[in-house]
Amino acid sequence: MSADHAHALPAGVRPPTYHHFEDLAQQEESEKLGMWAFLITEVMFFGALFTAYTVYRNLYPEAFMDASSKLNWKLGAVNTLVLIVSSLTMALAIRAAQTGKYSQVIWQTVATMIFGATFLVVKYFEYMHKYHDGLMPGPTLFFTDVFGEHTPQARIFFSIYFAMTGLHAFHMVVGLGILTWVLIKARKRYFTPDRYLALENVGLYWHFVDLVWIFLFPMLYLLGAHYGLGH
């Protein structure tokens, strides 16, 4: 079979990596479309949580403001900045691959990973803080009643907060895992000016996760910011 479709490739054109594609263009188009379709599933995945957020915020606007004021918006802002910069370094890594600057690919990837890890470390301290303040809903820990009559609804706010940021943080961890793969491949000069699609797809994922946070930050942290800094 292999003779059938290795036919008539012009000189200098690379054959597709996998046998079932006719040519590299078909393979790359497929991979690109596959990535976008995957991102659509991700949008729907987070979409259900955004729906839940919208419903409860409309039902209990005051409780949401109260509860939101207990989040540290300054740390949230720092993390927003960290993620935006990590998206920049991610884009620069792809650019470096396109222009054949192999060491740049490695360093920009490392930088992206460092920013991603920074985000998670900050998130970890935020979570710990919430845990010690009794703001983390759990089976045995009941929620602190600092919110007075809003306490039950504030619990819902924090449930959504942990579900959404937790799911987002999980995507960050997966992203760091994929970037580790990128790093290994980049060290072997796998990404070249005519083979960078995989890296570009990793970039799409990373930007998507970043974009989710861009929505989460104002929705969760800034509702009660006018109350002053909580902790």
Partner: protein, 566 residues
């Protein structure tokens, strides 16, 4: 559709020589367990899926048998209420998530989508294999649930019962369903990319077989809907394990929000289950009428219309929850709109039959049964979509009968129809035709005897999900249980004769049905790479030539095409 392949005379000669020697097919290309469990061949993965969905169909069927046994008499004499709750839940979970959703897409779709579009494989073969493994892992979770006491929430997992009060294995089941969802997402993603990017030269969208259109519409729903179910189930698990309170009304959580999120997936999921079946029926009706499907583009677009409208009707499951009356009115109207594309399909199939040269083979019998039963199932759905009628019928056996007419009467019929139709292509051997027709009739009779009485008792007010009932519903329930035993026999029969035919069935050539379509122009069973050379398609789908009243002239034409390909 008739395609012609661009093979040189050399290749054709090789093809003929190979036909005399034992030919290498996708089935003989490797025998060890690794050649199956690590395969990336879409046809082998389809066979893996065929075996696993059949296994889960038997498990789900076993639960149904126990339920019908209990319901044969008005008293509780086989199981108690608790056990009965677990039986119907497990029946629903297994049949929906582990049989109906993957059945046609993952078995027939996997096998046929690349072949029908003239490709060597799906776009992402490894992801295809991964989807099977994910399905198996999800299935193992569900089996663990079954042996460790089961789950009693109903397959709908309604909160706050599922999240707070149930004492059964809700969290484990949730994990199983959550995992299996990803298998469905990956299959859908693979189909979308494959159908967009892998079509052979000349195979434009409007030359595609309608089976492909149906798979495409299904894949859209899988990709857009399933993630929402995943999140919803994830929230139920969080609620159950960490008591986060999101669906807990005692602290202001909204249990109806769960129903919105759940049905946002689960109503479109009904179309995940039925659309691929409609694709099968289009192929079979055309092949055994020897006519082009009437109104091809209407049938093609009706699949997309069903997929799109399917996302806008979920609220009709919640007419009785206190949802806004105005929302209910909108949902009710949209629900009735779904009947339009569904009717387009049924009418167009009927028009295809008109003046066709009809052969009543086994697949055709199933296809005709599908048309009748789907009409009943679909129209009773319109009853339920009317708000006032639904007040009376909500949560009665009328609903049970309605969705079994669609899920079993239509979808399982379509699955059996497709399995019989493409069986010679998959294994190169024919099933015994007489037994096939016999089983098809048994299934049809058994099915109607099981579910027709349920419309009656439902209308009389018998609620679903109870293991005991008043004496007056006794006769109808006994009929239903009797029908179920006939239906069961009808399902067991094909398992035996299909397995028998693997070894002893009559060997067939590439095109035993003299049907059109790329899959009938390659060998049975196909080689690993499906086609010997590049494929170029020059004609529309179902090119059966002139009027079929001209006898077999068109068939000769078809054979001539097939010969030139080999």
């Amino acid at each position: 559709m008739t395609g012609s392949t661009d093979m040189g005379s050399m290749a054709t000669t090789t093809g003929h020589a190979a036909a005399e020697a034992p030919r290498e097919t996708y089935l003989t290309n490797g025998y060890g367990w690794k050649s199956w469990f690590l395969t990336v061949d879409h046809k082998r993965i389809a066979i893996l899926y065929l075996i696993s969905v059949t296994f889960f169909f038997l498990i789900g069927g076993l639960f149904a048998v126990l339920m019908r046994l209990e319901l044969a008499t008005p008293r509780a004499d086989v199981v108690d209420a608790e056990t009965y709750n677990r039986l119907f839940t497990m029946h629903g979970v297994v049949m929906i998530f582990f049989f109906l959703v993957p059945s046609i897409p993952a078995v027939l779709g996997n096998f046929l989508v690349p072949i029908m579009i003239g490709a060597r494989d799906l776009a992402f073969p490894k992801i295809n294999l991964l989807s099977w493994y994910i399905y198996v892992v999800g299935g193992i979770f569900t089996l663990i649930v079954a042996v460790s006491g089961g789950v009693d929430t109903g397959w709908t997992f309604y909160t706050p019962y599922s999240s707070t009060y149930s004492n059964s294995q809700v969290a484990l089941t949730a994990v199983g369903v959550f995992i299996t969802g990803f298998s469905s997402i990956l299959t859908g993603l693979n189909f979308i990319v494959t159908i967009h990017k892998m079509r052979a030269p000349g195979l434009t969208w409007f030359r595609l077989p309608l089976f492909i259109w149906a798979q495409y519409a299904t894949a859209l729903i899988m990709v857009l809907g399933t993630p929402v179910l995943a999140t919803t189930i994830f929230l139920v698990a969080l609620e159950r394990i960490f008591r986060i309170g999101i669906f807990d009304p005692t602290i202001g959580g909204d249990p109806v929000l769960f129903q919105h999120l759940f049905w946002f997936y689960s109503h479109p999921a009904v179309y995940i289950m039925i659309l691929p079946g409609m694709g099968v029926i289009s192929e079979v009706i055309s092949a055994f009428s020897k006519k082009r499907v009437f109104g091809y583009s209407f049938v093609a677009f009706s699949s997309l219309a069903i997929a799109i409208l399917g996302f806008m009707v979920w609220g009709h499951h919640m007419f009785t929850t206190g949802q806004s009356v105005y929302a209910s009115m909108v949902f009710s109207v949209l629900t009735m709109l779904v009947a339009v594309p569904s009717a387009v399909k049924v009418f167009n199939w009927a028009a295809t039959l008109y003046k066709g040269s009809i052969e009543l083979t086994t697949p055709m019998l199933y296809a005709l049964a599908f048309m009748g039963l789907f009409t009943i199932g679909g129209l009773t759905g319109v009853f339920l979509g009317i708000m006032a009628v639904d007040r009376h019928l909500h949560d009665t056996y009328f609903v049970v009968a309605h969705f079994h007419y669609v899920m079993v009467g239509s979808m399982v019929m379509a699955f059996l129809c497709g399995v019989h139709f493409w069986w010679p292509k998959m294994f190169g051997r024919m099933y015994p035709e007489f037994l096939g027709r016999f089983a098809a009739i048994i299934v049809f009779v058994g099915f109607n005897l099981t579910f027709l009485p349920q419309f009656v008792v439902g209308f009389q007010g018998m609620p679903r999900r109870y293991h005991v009932y008043p004496e007056e519903f006794g006769v109808m329930n006994l009929l239903s249980s009797a029908g179920a035993s006939i239906l069961g026999a009808g399902y067991i029969l094909p398992m035996f004769y299909l397995a028998w035919s693997l070894k002893w069935g009559k060997k067939v050539g590439p095109n035993p049905w003299e049907a059109k379509g790329l899959e009938w122009q390659i060998e049975s069973p196909p080689i690993t790479h499906n086609f010997h050379g590049p494929v170029r398609v020059t004609e529309e789908a179902y090119a059966y030539g002139e009027e079929p009243t001209h006898g077999h002239a068109t068939n000769t034409h078809g054979q001539k095409e097939a010969t030139s390909v080999r």
